[in-house]
């Protein structure tokens, strides 16, 4: 059995999942902190 | 301060209770939760021949033989105490090796031995490059 498709699938899946959670967490943080900052300035 | 200490005591008690319950549940589960029978389990306990079970152990070195039909393999599985002969018709996994771990799914044959309908390879926790493995084979045998 050729091992490389299995190895590649594991690494690619991890990369996608990591990127997805990083992006989602970062985005919601930026949105929330901006809203808090704007409200403070008002 | 008093309330905090009370909560700490309660919290620690809760943790202790949870751990105690888990230990009790696990000791009750102990024998049921095993993934496979070892050859000595099968020699000791009476297991019905129509019960579908798993058998696990090491493939005895030098015991693997292809039968004359070309698709059936016969080999012996050991746990270093007892030994049982397994007959399997089908394709073996890549990691199936003599001296390596194996899990056979199937049932006991009425006349003794084990008839497998599926074979899984089990490897141990030692990982090493081929050169190192080669050197190790020369110096000492692989069984513990």
């Amino acid at each position: 059995m050729n091992p490389w498709p299995f190895v590649a699938a594991a690494y690619v899946l991890t990369a996608i999942a990591g990127a997805a959670i990083a992006f989602a967490s970062w985005r919601s943080m930026v949105v929330a902190e901006r809203a808090a900052e704007e409200l403070r300035r008002r | 301060m008093k309330a905090k200490h009370q909560r700490l005591t309660l919290g620690l008690l809760a943790v202790a209770a949870i751990v105690g319950a888990a230990v009790l549940a696990l000791s009750a589960l102990r024998d049921q939760a095993s993934f496979f029978y070892s050859p000595s389990d099968l020699a000791r306990d009476h297991v019905s021949t129509d019960k579908h079970i798993r058998l696990g152990g090491m493939v005895v070195t030098g015991s693997v033989a292809k039968l004359s039909d070309g698709v059936t393999t016969r080999f012996a599985v050991t746990d270093n105490v007892d030994q049982i002969t397994v007959v399997y018709r089908g394709i073996l996994p890549d990691l199936f090796r003599e001296g390596s771990g194996v899990v056979a799914e199937g049932h006991l044959a009425p006349g003794g031995g084990f008839v497998a309908d599926n074979i899984l390879a089990k490897h141990d926790e030692r990982y090493m490059p081929p050169q190192v493995a080669g050197a190790m084979h020369k110096t000492k045998s692989l069984d513990k």
Partner: protein
Amino acid sequence: MPSIHALANPTRFLKIARPATPVCFWSGVALMLFAAWGGLTRTPPDYLQGETVRIMYIHVPAAWLGLGGWAGLATASFVYLVWRHPLAALAARAIAVPGALFTALCLVTGSIWGRPTWGTWWQWDGRLTSMLLLFFVYLAYLALNRADAERGGDGRIPALFGIAGSVLLPIIHYSVVWWNTLHQGQSIGLTGSTIDASMLWPLWYAMAGFTLFFTGIVLMRMRTMLAVQKVEARMRRMARG
């Protein structure tokens, strides 16, 4: 405990968390990439498994984060229950989603590893089953948290659940010792490792990188919650005034 009290002050926490977030995150990413490069190109294949063994460099750190994540969640829950630090409750909630994700990644990469080595995608052995249980426990915690927040609860029930769930951790760890399993035994213990040194080194970088990455994500999520709380508090005040 002065250190906990100091950190429990949201302003002080943010003073540290703001610069710490990018440092943790990016150093984590860099270490993960380095470990992947090392694990894919610099290490030898295994004598038995061949190239498939390279899945180890993500499967093992993912498992560590799934388990370590719950250990952190349970500790934070305990601190919240006893000392009532609101930041501890925040930390526990911030860990849940990434913890569940890495538990899922551990299960999926393990399945991908199992097919070419064991010859099966999935078997109900002690290790695999207990790890799947941990994933469901994460999901239950998330559901419980949402229900508690909707009811206007103070988070005590999810915190209790967080502590109770940690019974799974020793079960998962010792599953390969107590029961015979398809999964192999522990490779890395306190006394050493059964992985040859030539294959082991990228694993340390991967563990460190995954952990830093995870910390960065948790910090982001805690900062999000603090900002949302601030907005909600101000809205309430404005509605009243």
